[in-house]
């Protein structure tokens, strides 16, 4: 039954080569921790992706309860913490996961750097990786404001002031960030939109590029 359904789709869309390429490609021994323990450093990239996946999932569940307006945001987060089943755990996952992504990504970047994996022909994948790093930092900056507590409010105020002190374009950037001159209602809805719509879109595109390039170029050989 399943086989028939698969064949029906495959006959029309020819999907077999797509997953066959991923499933059947050979993984060389120098990245296999089961053969050489020190190869665990090659796991950092995959683990970063794993944490990003948990971030997306926990974020989707948080979005079910979170309210992005200045009167209710803090109360909705408090509600998640105190009332929602496993709310504290899901928020904890999203909070700690944010730091963990940075840590794992930094380790992954160090691994790529010290093994010289960014060298020809993989220069473009390094650039995409750096862009992913910046997108993740932007996730952190916008997400920090969303609980709308004192810490969030004043950190964003200071962040915006720093952006505002850039010569010439500073005030313009500050207004663009905050939607005004101060952190307020517009800032919160703006950061929320960036955090849950703009950045995930950018991240998914960049991750897709990152992975497609790995498949077309393959991973770098042993040192």
């Amino acid at each position: 039954m399943l086989k028939k359904a698969y064949d029906w789709i495959d006959e029309r869309l020819n999907v077999t080569p797509l997953w066959r390429d991923v499933a059947d490609h050979d993984v060389p021994p120098h990245v296999n921790p089961a053969i050489k323990m020190s190869a665990f450093i090659y796991c950092f990239g995959g683990l970063t992706f794993l944490v990003i996946t948990t971030q997306i999932l926990s974020g989707m569940f948080l979005a079910m309860y979170y309210t992005p307006d200045i009167n209710n945001a803090w109360y909705s987060v408090k509600y998640i913490d105190d009332q929602v089943l496993l709310g504290q755990v899901v928020r904890g996952m999203h909070f700690w996961g944010a730091s963990l992504v940075i840590v794992m990504m930094f380790l992954h970047m160090l691994r790529v750097f010290f093994t010289g994996a960014y060298k020809k022909p993989r220069e473009m994948n390094w650039v995409v990786g750096v862009l992913i790093f910046f997108v993740v930092l932007a996730f952190g900056f916008t997400g920090y404001l969303l609980p709308w507590d004192q810490k969030a409010y004043w950190a964003t105020s200071v962040g915006a002031q720093i952006a505002g002190s850039i010569p010439w374009i500073g005030p313009w950037i500050q207004t663009l960030l905050l939607g005004g001159h101060y952190v307020g209602a517009l800032t919160l809805s703006r950061f929320f939109a960036i955090h849950v719509f703009f950045l995930p879109a950018a991240l998914l595109v960049l991750l897709a590029l990152h992975f497609i390039m790995i498949r077309t170029q393959h991973i770098s050989g042993p040192l």
Binding site: V22, D24, H25, D26, P28, P29, N32, P33, A34, F40, C43, G46, L47, L50, V51, T54, W74, Q88, V89, G92, M93, F95, W96, A98, S99, L100, L110, F114, T115, G116, Y118, K119, R122, E123, W126, V127, V130, F133, F134, G140, F141, Y144, P147, W148, D149, Q150, K151, A152, W154, A155, S157, V158, G159, A163, S165, I166, P167, Y182, V183, L223
Partner: protein, 256 residues
Amino acid sequence: MAEGERIPGTPRYRHSLQVHSGFEPFFPNFLLKEWIVGAVFLFAFALWIVFNPVDLGPKANPDDTTFIPIPDWYFLFLYQILKYYPGSQIVVGVVLVPLIGTLLLLFTPWLDVSTERHPYKRPIATAVMVLVTFLVIWLTNEARVQHLAETGQLSSNANLPQLKPVSASQIKFSDTNMPGYKLFESTCATCHGSKGEGHIGPPIYAIGHFWNEQQLKDFVENPSGGMPPKGGLPSDKQVDQVVAWLVKQSHSGGGY
């Protein structure tokens, strides 16, 4: 065994008879191993989450300008750089350093163009990266330490007696006819709670159990952790009176 031949097709007892090239197919062999690593990692992550609940601070209050803000920890190194370029030099910290860092990072593949990949065979690139990594870690820690000092949470406070939190109803003060008690109620209680159970300031209901009169006096005269000097009392005489009463509170509750 030819490269890419699927290991699951071979009985386990024959594996040792084959010359293992080390290559194995991604699915399912390698993916299963990756899942094991991922499962261990997720388990550790879950344990961390359960034992480190996230606290929600007080609701944002734009009028409260006394709050000392700090960026999330992964921005601290950038934040710290700003402090070294005050006033008109701020352009260096806000634009120049981050811009150079960004460009160096983006264009790494075109700066380190040798075909050598081993870190020892390209000492300049390796040395720069090691240096930058240590610098970032050092700057992050420096920002953290300075923030703790600003908010009065530095290690000198670690020596302060940490009293068990108890509810006010379980605390029984003695010698409440002394003048020091009146002063405690009108001044200290604002921060430490009417029974010394702790409020803005830490619990001190049985402080006499930990400190003698001299230690108490020394601390109140020159306190840390955001407490005002002399605890906000106007004269030394009143400090003496409060301390004389406080030191008698050694068995007021909490099992001390």
